[in-house]
């Protein structure tokens, strides 16, 4: 019995939850535009659950009922989405009433099938002229081929809006018949008819009727045709097999818009002859159009345009030159290397030109370009060489490294400087040993550059490279060489380097100790922290003690250790720190390890006049760890 009661309850609840379409439709019958949308949302929720076959008859009934206009508007919108031929009679009836005409047309336009199309055509025949405008639009939107004969007479309507609407509809229909219907108006110079014909031709071409489309484009590409129509016709001819001749002719037109359209057309034109045509026409084109012609040729990626690009790179117009640089970079050719490098290195040229040529040289892709740079380097004059060296670095050309190495002994300071800079981008394992021997005999002024180049080579190097550096360090007699190699090892990192830096801390030479401290302070992990901590109080040189303190603080800042461990390390540094700078650095770190110990450490410095303000700043950030009063 209990189970039965439970079943009844569940069934009752289910029934209560069942959507009540009738109730909602009754609400919709009273709905008006200025009311809340709750009823509409309720309907949509129900409509989503019901099959269209069940829903549609009720909506059709609603449409022929006495509901409000706003309610019917809403229902017609629903029918436009899910309605079928069954809804057409009701909608056709609604089409004949002024107040529901537009909403019914909206739905009929969207309901697929012959029945809805026939309803619209019948309405176009029967309804007064004032109602025809919207219907012509709908027939055009449906691309209703059967309505051509009905629409054609409307082209000549005295109602200009209706005539324009009919012309546009015929264009959208896009059949040979609709194109023929537009012919007389087009030939009489009607601009709307020409525009509609272009739309029609595009549709025909898309359907494969290219010949019909071409005839329209050829007919409209005439000097007497309005410019923008000609521009569109030339665009159409881009895809035509017969397009080359009219596009070539248009290049010589007096109107720059037509010339521009011809260039755009030739840019896309499939026949390779288009490139030669553009090149031949180039000298006679107006200056304003020439950059577009260069861009079109660049787009075609045809190597026969290269000489033109080179010639244009020396043009007196900066816009043409800029287009030429871009084109040269987009069509990579080894022969362009020297052209661009010469331009970039010429001090007589405008700086903007030099930058543009430089950027083009760096943008050219391909190994053949890299090889051309490497080949050109030895015989280039000094200015050109400087530019090629710069580009070798910018392009990270590994094969340029041997020649770059040979420039490190140059007496030309700019060249040496640029070679160092580029080597930082190109040097790898093969350059490690040569760089080591050059470093050993280097002048003090070049030492830093050698260190940076060597550390870059070491980073790209292999195990043998590291071994070579370690061997050089162990055999180095001069302290300066050891110092430099410690800097290099510090910058390059690597576990195999760590023991050497640790050994450097115990050197009797203060500079070597300094270099080791700096190398370890920049270490990517906190491994050397204990070594540095030991040095904060044991190394005899006070400056090195301070550097070691800074090193510990820096490595604690990596935050790789626990909060108590980090604070313990900072406390140890604080005990030996004599200078305000290190205390300030510790105070800056304390809020990152916030706890009561950190608060107490900051508090202990509050009375130190040198760092009192910084201690107060740290305390304010650690306030929540203040002991309860």
């Amino acid at each position: 019995m209990k189970q039965f009661s439970l079943f009844v309850c569940v069934a009752a609840c289910a029934l209560a939850a069942e959507p009540d379409l009738n109730g909602v439709l009754q609400k919709l019958a009273r709905y008006d535009y200025n009311q809340g949308r709750e009823g509409l949302l309720e309907f949509e929720a129900i409509a989503r659950k019901l099959p269209a076959k069940e829903l549609e008859p009720q909506l059709i009934t609603f449409l022929s009922g006495e509901g409000s206009l706003a309610g019917k508007d809403f229902i017609v919108r629903q029918l436009s989405v899910m309605g079928s031929s069954a809804a057409v009679p009701a909608l056709a009836a609604a089409l004949r009433k002024t107040e529901t005409m537009e909403m019914a047309r909206f739905a009929l336009e969207r309901i697929p099938g012959e029945v809805s199309g026939e309803a619209l055509r019948k309405a176009l025949k029967d309804l007064p002229e004032s109602a025809k405008l919207g219907i012509t639009n709908s027939l055009g939107n449906r691309r209703d081929a059967k309505s051509v004969s009905l629409l054609q007479p409307l082209i000549f309507s005295t109602n200009s809006a209706l005539a324009l609407s009919a012309i546009a509809a015929l264009g959208r229909i896009g059949t040979p018949e609709s194109l023929a219907a537009l012919a007389s108006s087009r030939k009489n110079g009607s601009l709307p008819a020409m525009e509609a014909s272009l739309v029609c031709a595009e549709r025909l071409a898309a359907q494969g009727n290219v010949a019909a489309a071409d005839r329209v484009y050829a007919e409209l590409n005439q000097p007497a045709t309005p410019v923008m129509v000609r521009v569109a016709a030339l665009h159409g001819l881009t895809n035509s097999k017969q397009g080359l001749a009219p596009l070539a002719a248009a290049l010589n037109d007096k109107d720059p818009k037509v010339q521009g359209a011809a260039i755009r057309g030739l840019k896309e034109y499939k026949d390779p002859a288009a490139s030669s045509l553009l090149i031949r026409a180039f000298p006679n084109l107006p200056a304003a159009i020439r950059p577009h012609a260069i861009t079109a040729l660049m787009h075609r990626q045809d190597p026969i345009a290269l000489p033109l690009f080179v010639q244009a790179s020396a043009d007196e117009s900066s816009t043409i030159r800029a287009a030429a640089y871009t084109a040269l970079s987009a069509l990579p050719a080894p022969s362009s290397v020297s052209v661009l490098a010469k331009l970039a290195s010429d001090p007589a040229k405008d700086p903007a030109d030099r930058d543009a040529a430089r950027a083009a040289l760096d943008r050219m892709r391909g190994k053949s370009i890299d090889d051309a740079i490497v080949v050109a380097l030895p015989s280039a004059d000094s200015l050109l060489k400087l530019e090629l060296v710069r580009s070798a670095g910018e392009r990270s050309i590994r094969s340029a490294s041997p020649f770059l190495l040979s420039l490190l002994g140059s007496t030309d300071r700019s060249l040496r400087r640029e070679a160092f800079k580029s080597l930082r981008e190109t040097a790898s394992a093969p350059e490690v040993v040569p760089l080591l021997s050059l470093l050993a005999g280097s002048k003090p002024t070049d030492r830093r550059d050698f260190e940076r180049a060597l550390s870059a080579a070491l980073r790209r190097g292999d195990a043998a490279s590291s071994k070579a550096v370690i061997a050089a360090f162990q055999s180095a007699a001069q302290p300066e060489m050891k110092e430099s190699l410690l800097q290099v090892m510090g910058q390059a990192g690597g576990d195999e380097m760590l023991p050497l830096l640790q050994t450097g801390l115990r050197s009797t030479n203060a500079d070597i100790v300094r270099a080791s401290i700096l190398g370890l302070s920049e270490w990517p992990t906190d491994t050397p922290i204990e070594d540095l901590l030991l040095l904060t109080s044991t190394t005899p040189e006070p400056a090195n003690q301070i550097l070691a303190q800074r090193g510990v603080i820096q490595l604690v800042g990596l935050a790789t250790r626990s909060v108590p461990d980090s604070l313990q390390l900072l406390e140890a540094v604080l005990k030996v720190a004599r200078m305000a700078d290190e205390k300030k650095a510790i105070l800056a770190l304390l809020p990152r390890f916030a706890n009561k110990t950190a608060f107490a450490m900051a508090q202990s410095l509050e009375s130190d006049p040198e760092v009192s303000a910084e201690a107060k700043a740290a305390l304010s950030r650690l306030q929540r760890f203040a002991p309860a009063k």
Binding site: S455, Q491, E522, A543, I546, L547, D581
Partner: protein, 219 residues
């Protein structure tokens, strides 16, 4: 009233050596202003109001020139993501791509080695002026010691909460413009100029276009 007199005399005494010499405006060549993108609202406390007119000329003893041009630059990031540290003293301050260096995110420093000590009157620095942005914790220090140990002169510091760990600063935050930031270096003598920053309102990375150090060999 007394305090005004005191302030006046303190300033007079401090700048007495300067007053004894012929002063000339610094030969600062400004780059063309750049504006890229849509400016964003910058909400930064202690922000300097824009002057709304060109910066007044800064007077320094005749013969003062940029002594940082092409001088060696080192820093906490030797492998910048964009450009090279050398760009900081290469004389190019247009601010377009290819003229600035971008170093790592967070607190970073760059140090210019002037090669020898100079009496420094002003420093002008351009971090990034393509878009308006405020760089955090900008600190400029001068020293004759390469490790900045011992006598160090902090000539600018807007780190108001010691985030950078070099002490509290009282200078104001400022918006980057093509004029760059001119800092009065008060005639301190130094060989090394260190600049610190901690990202900006636009990005955690640090950019530098150019730094010019105006000075003369000390007498």
């Amino acid at each position: 009233m007394k305090s005004i007199y005191k302030l006046f005399f303190t300033a007079l005494v401090a700048h007495a050596p300067l007053l004894a010499q012929a002063l000339e405006p610094l030969p600062i060549v400004l780059p063309k202003p750049l504006f890229e993108g849509t400016p964003e609202n910058i909400r930064v406390p202690n922000l300097e109001k824009p002057l709304g007119k060109p910066r007044p000329a800064f007077l320094a003893p005749a013969g003062t020139m940029n002594v940082a041009h092409l001088k060696a630059v080192s820093g906490s990031d030797n492998e910048p993501a964009i450009g090279d540290l050398e760009m900081i003293t290469d004389g190019r301050k247009d601010g377009i791509d290819g003229t600035y260096v971008e170093i790592k995110a967070g607190r970073q420093q760059v140090t210019i080695d002037l090669g020898t000590s100079y009496t420094i009157y002003a420093i002008v620095l351009w971090h990034f002026h393509k878009q308006p942005r405020v760089f955090n914790d900008v600190i400029v220090r001068l020293s004759n010691n390469r490790d900045f140990i011992g006598q160090v002169h902090t000539v600018f510091n807007n780190d108001h909460d010691n985030t950078a760990g070099l002490g509290l600063g009282k200078d104001m935050n400022y918006v980057e413009t093509a004029e760059g930031k001119l800092i009065d270096a008060q005639g301190f003598t130094a060989r090394y100029v260190q600049l610190i920053s901690n990202g900006s309102t636009a990005s955690p990375a640090n950019q530098y276009i150019e730094v010019e150090v105006f000075g003369r060999p000390p007498k």
